[in-house]
Amino acid sequence: MRDRRHAAAPGQAGPYRAVRAALLRDPRLLLRLGAWSVAETAPALVVGLAVARAIDEGFAAGRPGLGFAWLALLGGAWLTAAVGARQVVVAVGSIVEPFREELLDHVVDGTLRRSAAAGHGPGAAAVARSNLQVELARDALASVITVVRSFAFTVVSVVLGLTTLMPQVLVLVLPPFVVGLCLFLLSLPALARRQRDFIVADERTAGALAAMAGGLRDIAACRAGDRVAADVGRQVARQARAGRSLARVTAMRTASLAVGGWLPVLLILAGAPWLVRHGAGAGVILGALVYVTQSLAPALGNLVQGLGMSGVRLRVTLERVLRSGEPPRPVTARSVPRDAAVELRGVTFAYGPHAEAVISDLDLSVPDGDHVAVVGPSGIGKSTLAALVTGLLRPDSGRVTVGGVPAERVDQASRVLIPQEAYVFRGTLMENLTYLAAAPKPAVEDAVTALGLTSLVARLGGYSAEIHAGLLSPGERQLVALARAYLTPARLVILDEATCHLDPAAEALAEEAFARRDGTLLVVAHRLTSATRARRILVMDGASVQLGRHEELLASCPPYADLAGLWNPSDSQELVP
């Protein structure tokens, strides 16, 4: 696949730049679109002229043959238009499909990078929502291209047609038409604002209703029905207000349409005696009316409708899609650390400027080849520590280094983090196992044996079996992730509750395999047994942090003794008095 990074240009630009880039990407497409547009608007060029000549020179002059000839020309124009319109739709499709692809690429890229940076992603619902936004943006752009282009070509065709028919008519038609167009363009910003408010209010209402429907039990349990009714009711009222205010502005927009579309009709009629004096017959006046009512007014109406709705929709959805701005880019200058010693010096980290620090002023020194377990209640900052060591988070103050290199600049192949939520993607088992580093089959088989995946491989039907997350149990997914990490050359391995879905025996097998492996092992422990296997244990409990061996900590660290007492599996049945 070609590198699409440069193609993802809409990320750096506003909606206008994105649209311009989409239009100018392939100028040949624009030329094709223009050529077929001429064919599509052929009736706008000849319709009035054909009607006028067919009546004046044909039927009314007693020469039906000539009349039919003019009508045949008109019919031919409509058939040409049919062919042209078809090609126009396809050309518009060819312009907006690459545009959609870029937006989709932008969304996927941004979502992936932001989720990677945040350590968690939005749910399936949010993904569906952004896919829908992309779809809406594509449809809106197609509609805007269609109406703006059709309007421009129609106006030119009608002006040419009227000039051929009788240039004096232009004096009657053009001024009110231009005034109507200007009125519309002037009302466009207000209309866009209202339309946008309405779209936003509509989405908010749907969101509020969904939250309410999902929380009926909890609302009833808190007897908060009145309060929620008032909250959601306010949103419903806000949406209704937005709807009414949109209706008002739409009515004004319709007025501009009346000026641009109907006033020329009245002026042609009022000016008819003057036209007749200049030699116009009934046909010419009817032809002029046909130009206005059948080509000019509908084109203006479509423009008003198209820009007023699709244009605004395009802007709103594009702003949504592009709003997130440029996703964080990965660090490029990485270096290979000399060994896998981990050093933390005065490390403080908080999730926001107003948040309390999760880790404050932490010093920790893990020499190369050490095996440390981190224990503590959930939410105390164990995963944050793992993320700091991996370089996924940067400390607010202090330094985290691996083998002398700042953690965020460490070569990614030199360390490996296995989080609790094991990642299994659609692909073969082999692709999943060698995701982080290519490995020959014997090495893969060794890892499979060492970590106890043999029966899983057999159940799936070998390494070439196609797998996805839903096919495996949470424990099996963790085994795949562990084997994948085991196969990398990384000397620093960080297991962040990576074995929590395994039974104690499988967990022991996996941890022992990693312990035998060369390098440093940092385990965020899920069970106390993981901790007892480690050489040293880091106890995190709020403000206090202690490092030591199991026996020392039992004696010197009350929180650890507390933990150990609760944690010891053999106690479970003995809790009974």
Binding site: V89, P122, A210, G215, L289, L392, L566
Partner: protein, 581 residues
């Protein structure tokens, strides 16, 4: 369906004066539109002939055009405003009703269904009056156009009808071809979305490995296929739209031809010929009129779906405040769902665990205790007052519920904990923080980007953190009775231990009913209600019950039951699970 029609009628009444404006402008506009071709034709004829009547015709023409424009402007205004007003009325009414019914609503209608009914369906019904008016008045120009053509020349009308049939056939063929293309297209779209969701689940792995670019390529694998199917759709669109679009103009040309012969013969004036051509266009609008009829059908169907919501009975509250008391809970002869003939007295201030195999009715008992559900027979009372006689406020103050999967509602974390406690005040803030501390939530909430003020959507929480907020909410509410329905299942052992300490300590004065799966929880309670097959099998201390092998088996079996639950819960109960295996 008659109730649905009544709802549509009431909606019409609540559209207010806008509906009359819409009705008037629609009828007047339609009549004027029908009149215009005739008037225009006559005006041109009279002007060309330099007729003395021409100023009259010109004036008529101006009046007709002015009326059409005015009707359009006011019609658009009226239909938008009236629809918004009617939809708002409907939504507010249904919203209060749904909230009044409470959780019983979700038992009959899935959440998504409720959202659709309150959202899209309410909108359809709200636009119902507009559809009726617009649909009815669209018949005037279309049918009128056909009639006018018949009056001018019956053959022209026949040509028009043949053409309309042709359009119908083309559109039907279009619908057939698009469905199969759309299926392929949606499957390509689905592939991209599925892969993206997969990859997001592995966000931390991807971040650590720095494989974002590879993941992007993998997610977008189906892009070429998507483009292929999308272009097929554009082509299909082009074919059908164009065929349909060319028919009306060609019909018009045909009518001009036939009419031209009559003009040459002197049977028709130039103006009449023009009028005939315009009537063809108006008459071809019949399809759009039929579309409006189908919109009306949709509005009626939607009204039927809303009526179903409105038919669910609301929970009725009494007016009594809660008398002074320790929070003694009493169930007398209670039968509901699987539970039959439950008689229980839970002394005020005591803690009682509820255990039993899955399906024994534990959650139902919990729901009955604080009136989330009313019993089919029997009575539940708190400090001597039957629950249905208590006011909603009294119940809200007395009873606090915590669930296994709490749904958090409100703008911020503080809102979610203090839901229903009234407007935020300093006193409430103190209550919220104290409750959060007791639930071991204070620590992690203060570490959120904006602490208690962090918007819920910007505070991603694990199952355990969510449960802690849910517990805090219960603690902030239930001054007299706390009902914990498996509300600590996702907490790690240490945190659960701390929560139990708070329950026994600072919250010890309140009556506690705790649905539990773990032995330790049952052991810590003053007494245990052992439910079996919908009945109370025993109600005694854990120590006494433990001698019964059947009682011990409840905990072992429940360990197996839990294997069916999402992995998070299973893993977090592992300290005990490990011991049992």
């Amino acid at each position: 369906m008659r109730a649905a029609d009544r709802l549509v009628k009431r909606t019409i009444r609540h559209s207010g004066p806008w509906l009359y404006v819409l009705a008037f402008t629609s009828v007047a506009g339609a009549l004027m539109e029908l009149a215009l071709p005739f008037v225009l034709g006559r005006t041109v004829d009279s002007l060309v002939a330099a007729d003395s009547a021409s100023p009259v015709w010109l004036g008529t023409c101006a009046a007709v055009v002015l009326l059409i424009a005015a009707c359009e402007v006011f019609g658009v205004w009226a239909s938008g405003s009236g629809g918004a007003r009617a939809t708002q009325w409907l939504r507010l009414r249904l919203l209060r009703h749904v909230l009044g019914v409470g959780p019983a609503m979700t038992r009959r209608f899935p959440e998504g269904e409720l959202v659709t009914r309150l959202g899209v369906n309410a909108e359809e019904v709200g636009r119902g009056p507009e559809s009726i008016v617009t649909g009815a008045t669209l018949v005037i120009p279309t049918a009128g156009g056909v009639v006018a053509l018949v009056l001018i020349d019956p053959w022209l009308a026949l040509t028009l009808l043949a053409g309309l049939t042709l359009i119908g056939l083309v559109l039907r063929a279009f619908l057939r071809t698009t469905t199969s293309i759309a299926g392929d297209y949606q499957s390509a779209q689905g592939d991209i979305a599925t892969r993206l969701v997969d990859a997001l689940a592995g966000a931390r792995t991807i971040a650590a490995a720095g494989t974002e670019d590879r993941e992007r390529a993998r997610v977008l694998t189906a892009l070429p296929r998507l483009r292929l199917h999308a272009m097929e759709m554009w082509r299909a669109n082009a074919r059908a739209g164009v065929r349909a679009g060319a028919v009306v103009p060609l019909l018009e040309v045909a009518v001009l031809g036939v009419g031209g012969l009559r003009l040459a013969a002197g049977d028709l004036s130039a103006g009449e010929l023009y009028a005939a051509a315009r009537y063809v266009v108006l008459g071809a609008g019949l399809g759009a009129a039929l579309g409006h009829v189908s919109r009306l059908g949709r509005a009626r169907a939607a009204a039927g779906r809303l009526v179903e919501l409105a038919e669910e009975p609301q929970t009725a509250y009494g007016a009594l405040p809660l008398p002074a008391g320790p929070g003694a809970l009493e169930l007398r002869g209670v039968t509901a769902g699987v539970l039959t003939g439950i008689d229980l007295v839970v002394p005020g201030g005591s803690s009682v665990a509820v255990v039993g195999r899955s399906g024994a009715g534990k959650s139902l008992l919990a729901a009955l205790a604080g009136r989330l559900v009313d019993p089919d027979a029997g009575q539940v009372s708190l400090d001597g007052v039957p629950l249905p006689e208590l006011s909603s406020e009294a119940l809200g103050e007395a009873v606090g519920y915590a669930f296994e999967r709490p749904v958090l509602i409100g703008e911020t974390v503080a809102d979610a904990v203090g839901l229903g406690l009234g407007d935020p005040t300093e006193a409430m803030e103190i209550t919220v923080r104290a409750a959060a501390r007791a639930a071991c939530a204070d620590d992690f909430v203060r570490r959120l980007p904006l602490g208690y003020g962090t918007p819920l959507e910007e505070a991603p929480m694990s199952g355990g953190e969510r449960q802690r907020i849910g517990l805090a909410r219960a603690f902030a509410h239930g001054r007299r009775l706390l009902v914990l329905d498996d509300a600590t299942s996702s907490l790690d052992t240490v945190t659960e231990h701390r929560v139990s300490r708070a329950l026994a300590g600072e919250l010890g004065g309140r009556t506690r009913l705790i649905v539990a799966h773990r032995v330790a929880t049952a052991a810590a309670a003053d007494r245990v209600i052992w439910l079996d097959g919908g009945r109370v099998r025993a109600y005694d201390t854990h120590t006494t019950l433990w001698r019964d092998p059947g009682y011990r088996a409840v905990f072992q079996v429940s360990g197996h039951d839990r294997a069916g639950l999402p992995p998070l819960d299973e893993s977090l109960s592992s300290p005990l699970g490990a011991g049992a295996s």
